[in-house]
Amino acid sequence: MNIKIKENAFEVRNLNLWYGKHKALEDITIDIVKNAITAIIGPSGCGKSTFLRCLNRMNDLIDGIRIEGKVYFEGKNIYDEGTDVVLLRKRVGMIFQQPNPFPMSIYDNVAFGPRLHGIRDRNRLDEIVKDSLEKASLWKEVKNKLNESALSLSGGQQQRLAIARVLAVEPEVILMDEPCSALDPASTQRIEDLMVELKANYTIVIVTHNMQQAARVSDFTAFLLAEENEPAKLIEYGETGQIFTNPKDIRTENYITGRFG
């Protein structure tokens, strides 16, 4: 084992979240380790995605959401007044279940983010596009058709394009919300390989309902559970190996052994 001090990308403290009057998340406290893959698992509807979206304030887009508690990103609470949400989302990118390529060319999809942030120089954009597509291991497949519509790509390619699109804005963290649930096994495999490659330079947080996936790719696993009529709580969090082989909480054990969910 290599010995190094683990740094945290996020430190979430006593996070509570309400949709209107309905409380969805209760008292979540967790550290997300830098340059590692953290998987968030739990049954459907347990608030995994909601929690993930707290990390780049995507929940701001939804009316009627109220959040209490603190989420420190690189030491600063992102819910403090005066947080630049636009800058936060540049630093904390997000991949969704549906790849949702914009209806424009492959090139323009990847260049979209850099252009948002004011990069106009064509050579510079060319470089970023190539570099991002290479990192997302899509370059070889698309280098001769950069000007074709992104909608012409297959589902798996579209998801890698979505990853390239996020990488192009040079984030520090990539949040992935069930990125493979719409993909076939071969495409899933490629995305998983890619995640492991990317972790050297990025912190990755992935929400998945697929426990094998969590076990295969993640370094840390958090188990969220919303018991009947209760908001979701963090039941157990630890190194993935420990969670899957030696869970401390009986509910975790029941879930990972497939007794419910």
Partner: protein
């Protein structure tokens, strides 16, 4: 029992079939009749020369220019307003807020107001009160008001149809609200917005009552926005009601039909291109 049900079924099937066939037949009959009466009159001379003499021999050139002037000018006035309004309704105000519901209701009501009502309003307000006179400006402003609800609603629907995932992806990349609207939402909705604008232009193109009262009836090739003019359908109205020349009236009607057909086909094509 079974026999009766079967018979009823067949009767209604036949009735609906007759209904749908009559729709097509009526439409074809109108087109065929106008083509039969009008097409022989239309030639290059008819399109490019002025009406001459009391029988309006010659062509309809100035009315064509006036018609296009009014159509393009009114679209240029109304499009930014309609698109801006639709953006506000869909992206800034809450879609189901009282305000947006009122605006929608107003737009739907306004779009079924008879055009002569727009005409008399335009006459009283633009022509007389603001002193624009019978002019392209008065006519285009009135037409703009008339097609505003149509374009507002079609733009609104086009924007609402942009998948939420596109917006999410855009915000997720650090886009501001305006960047998301201008670079993703409007861009995606653009072909459908354009379709709505073209259909609105089609209505402005064929409008009679609202134009006669606001742009006047003088045969003229308008240059300045304060020039008056007579559009094609007003010309057609005068030719027919005053018994001047039914031939020229049918010729004008045929040209109107053809051009409006182009508007509709153009709108459909754009819509289809998006569908892919």
């Amino acid at each position: 029992m079974y026999e009766l049900r079967k018979a009823l079924n067949n009767i209604f099937l036949t009735l609906t079939w007759i209904a749908s066939v009559s729709v097509i037949l009526i439409l074809l009959f109108i087109i065929a009749y106008i083509t039969y009466k009008g097409a022989p009159v239309v030639n290059l001379k008819f399109i490019t020369t002025w009406p001459q003499g009391y029988e309006a021999k010659g062509g309809i050139w100035p009315t064509i220019i006036t018609t296009f002037y009014l159509t393009i000018f009114s679209a240029a006035i109304v499009t930014p307003i309609a698109v801006g309004g639709a953006i506000y309704l869909t992206e800034y105000s809450k879609p189901f807020s009282r305000f947006s519901r009122y605006v929608r209701f107003a737009a739907d009501t306004l779009s079924s107001v008879p055009s002569i009502v727009y005409g008399i309003f335009g006459f009283a307000f633009f022509v007389i009160y603001l002193g624009f006179g019978w002019s392209m400006l008065s006519g285009s402003l009135t037409l703009a008001l008339m097609i505003l609800p149509l374009i507002l609603r079609s733009t609104e629907e086009a924007i609402l149809d942009v998948p939420y995932g596109y917006k999410e992806a855009s915000y997720g990349l650090g886009a501001t609200k305006w960047q998301t609207i201008s670079r993703v939402v409007l861009r995606t909705a653009f072909p459908r917005i354009l379709t709505g604008v073209i259909l609105g232009m089609g209505r402005a193109f064929g409008e009679t009552a609202a134009v006669m009262l606001t742009a006047g009836m003088a045969l003229n090739i308008p240059i300045s926005v304060f020039d008056g003019g007579r559009n094609m359908s007003s010309h057609l109205f005068l030719l027919a009601t005053e018994g001047i020349s039914l031939d020229a009236a049918f010729g004008t009607a045929f040209l109107l039909l053809v051009i409006i057909l182009f508007f509709n086909v153009g709108a459909k094509r754009i819509a289809r291109r998006v569908g892919k």
